[in-house]
């Protein structure tokens, strides 16, 4: 008798557990749709003609599917220039990543005078807010005659303490014997780095590449401050200009936003496991 009631009790616990699971799923779905709503609305509006975007009540699905907005961005506006500039920034930020990797290796695998102290200095730069540095950096670039040039846009954000830190943490786990062996074979330090260390560091390189791409693609503050000329605008700066110039032309604005967001969403979904795991392991330790 008591065995039976215990059985009923555990059955009941199981059903309530399953009910709770469903409840959690439903709550997450409802809020998840709200999270995605801006993206859905952005993409759908991209393909609506200008008049449809301003219709009341709004239509959900584009009635007359059009590519006119996307075309307009590239034909009558400067978005092809912005795109090239943004890709240029992205390309250089990979050079920055390489420099971060070099510094990470230097800090991880050499015992040298002042090494520890310098590493702390590097970490301390993470605490400096961008608002404090942005004016002096502008002044420094101005004395170097680099304002309103691509180099001036790229230089301030080229290297970063967080990247150096992540590379150092990873490269510290590479066994010294491996490097010693390479040296015995007569490989120079830089060759050891290129041919032994970098290939071993593939996992961290993969994560850093994705993050570097995203950061470069999204770069906003330095192009905004350093570029006076539309010829040097990045997509972000161009889009914020479009926003302030075409107040009611929402279809065009949404086309610009989609152009910026869609590649990132695709890359993110393709590599989401690496990115999320990187944060969950490196973020908390």
């Amino acid at each position: 008798m008591s065995a039976k009631s215990a059985h009923i009790q555990s059955e009941r616990a199981k059903t309530s557990e399953r009910l709770l699971q469903w409840l959690a799923g439903i709550v997450l779905t409802v809020f998840g749709i709200m999270m995605l709503l801006p993206f859905i609305w952005m993409v759908l509006s991209t393909f609506k003609p200008e008049s449809e975007v301003l219709s009341i009540p709004p239509t959900l699905w584009p009635k007359a599917f059009t590519m006119a907005n996307v075309n307009k961005l590239f034909v009558s506006m400067n978005f092809s220039v912005y795109l090239v500039n943004t890709l240029c920034i992205v390309a250089f930020s990979f050079l920055g990543m390489f420099m971060n990797a070099m510094a990470g290796f230097g800090f991880a695998k050499y015992n040298f005078k002042g090494g520890k102290a310098l590493f702390y200095v590097v970490l301390a730069t993470m605490m400096i807010p961008g608002q404090v540095t942005m004016i002096p950096v502008y002044l420094i670039l101005n004395t170097m005659n680099l304002t309103n040039t691509m180099i001036g846009i790229i230089l301030p954000g080229l290297v970063g303490a967080f990247g150096i830190f992540l590379f150092r943490q990873f490269m510290a786990t590479i066994p010294d014997e491996l490097l010693e062996a390479a040296r015995m074979e007569g490989a120079g330090e830089f060759r050891t780095f290129l041919q032994i260390v970098l290939p071993i560091s593939k996992p961290i390189l993969a994560v850093q590449s994705i993050l570097t791409f995203i950061a470069g693609w999204n770069s906003f503050l330095w192009p905004l401050i350093i570029a006076n000329d539309e010829k040097l605008y990045s997509l972000s700066v161009g889009l914020s200009l479009l926003r302030s110039q075409s107040n009611q032309n929402f279809a065009l604005q949404m086309a610009g936003a989609t152009l910026m967001v869609a590649p990132i969403i695709i890359i993110f979904i393709a590599f989401q496991r690496h990115i999320i795991e990187n944060y969950s392991t490196s973020g908390m330790k």
Partner: protein, 295 residues
């Protein structure tokens, strides 16, 4: 590593980054401090002999500037409303996702994380459209359920909350991931023991999960608070600080004085006030944390 390696090798590896960090992170701090005591502006930029040392005048002026005071009030508003909301929302989402056993919950992780990686300018443009009083989706949806139009970006208080909503939407993802990582680090045996003692779900949450997440909550609250203190892009794109400077943040105030009015010295003084605020907030948080962990 032993002595036979080239002595200069480590310096060769770290030199390029150190030069750049010195030039664009460390040196700027000194320059900012220096020019915050001068009347540096466009004429000073053209000819350095126009720069005059004016002592603490910029600090006196900025601290009595009504717009700066307003910006401080707004920033405090963002911090006080924003930080708890971000923590509660991302912790709730993390708990729900971690609770789920089905594979669909992995999809939720991606969905909730997605806004964090997207471009802030692009999403601000999208939200500006959603918030539009006449053509925006949000007011249309409210009308469907017979609720009046909300003046999303035109009412001084509502506009601040609208910006917080946008920033919250972007902030949930990353913090949720940090909380999930923390949740997965809690030993299962704690819950099993609690269940044997007959602890209910909410009791387990309150007496095991939350205390065990102390470090994650600390980490998220400190980074979120610093983030809100530097709140910039959202008001810059959506409202330009309006209506009547009711959404101007301290960071936007600094940007505007520095790059639109070219009052470099004045803006640098403002940026140091912000810097001190960040340092103080961080120290206070660490104080609380170290008291907390001595238990």
């Amino acid at each position: 590593m032993r002595g036979f390696t080239a002595k200069s090798a480590p310096y060769f590896f770290i030199a390029p980054t150190l030069i750049l960090l010195t030039l664009f992170s460390l040196l700027p701090i000194l320059i900012a401090l220096g020019i915050s005591f001068t009347n540096m502006d466009l004429s000073g930029l053209a000819d350095h002999s126009n720069i005059k040392f004016i002592g603490l005048q910029n600090y006196k002026d900025v601290l009595t500037d009504p717009i700066f005071k307003k910006a401080i009030f707004n920033t405090l508003f963002y911090v006080i409303i924003g930080v708890p909301i971000v923590i509660i929302c991302s912790l709730s989402v993390a708990l729900l996702i971690n609770f789920g056993t089905s594979r669909i919950f992995k999809v939720f992780r991606v969905v909730y994380y997605l806004p964090s990686v997207t471009n802030v300018v692009a999403v601000a443009v999208v939200w500006f459209y959603l918030y539009n009083p006449t053509f925006g989706l949000l007011n249309y949806l409210l009308k469907l359920v017979h609720l009046g139009p909300v003046p999303w970006l035109t009412h001084p208080i509502v506009a601040k909350i609208s910006l917080i909503l946008l920033a919250l939407w972007r902030a949930i993802g990353l913090n949720m991931i940090i909380f999930i990582a923390g949740l997965q680090g809690i030993p299962k045996s704690y819950y099993e023991a609690a269940q044997l003692d007959g602890a209910k779900h909410w009791q387990q949450l309150w007496y095991i999960t939350i205390p065990m997440l102390r470090y994650a909550i600390f980490f998220v609250s400190i980074t979120t608070m610093i983030g809100w203190l530097q709140f910039f892009e959202e008001p810059f794109i959506m409202t330009q600080g309006g209506p009547l400077d009711s959404t101007t943040s301290v960071a936007l105030f600094i940007y505007r004085n520095g790059f639109q009015f070219s009052h470099f010295g004045y803006a640098a003084a403002g940026s140091f006030v912000l810097f001190f605020a960040i340092i103080i907030v961080t120290l206070v948080q660490f104080r609380f944390q170290s008291k907390d962990t001595t238990m």
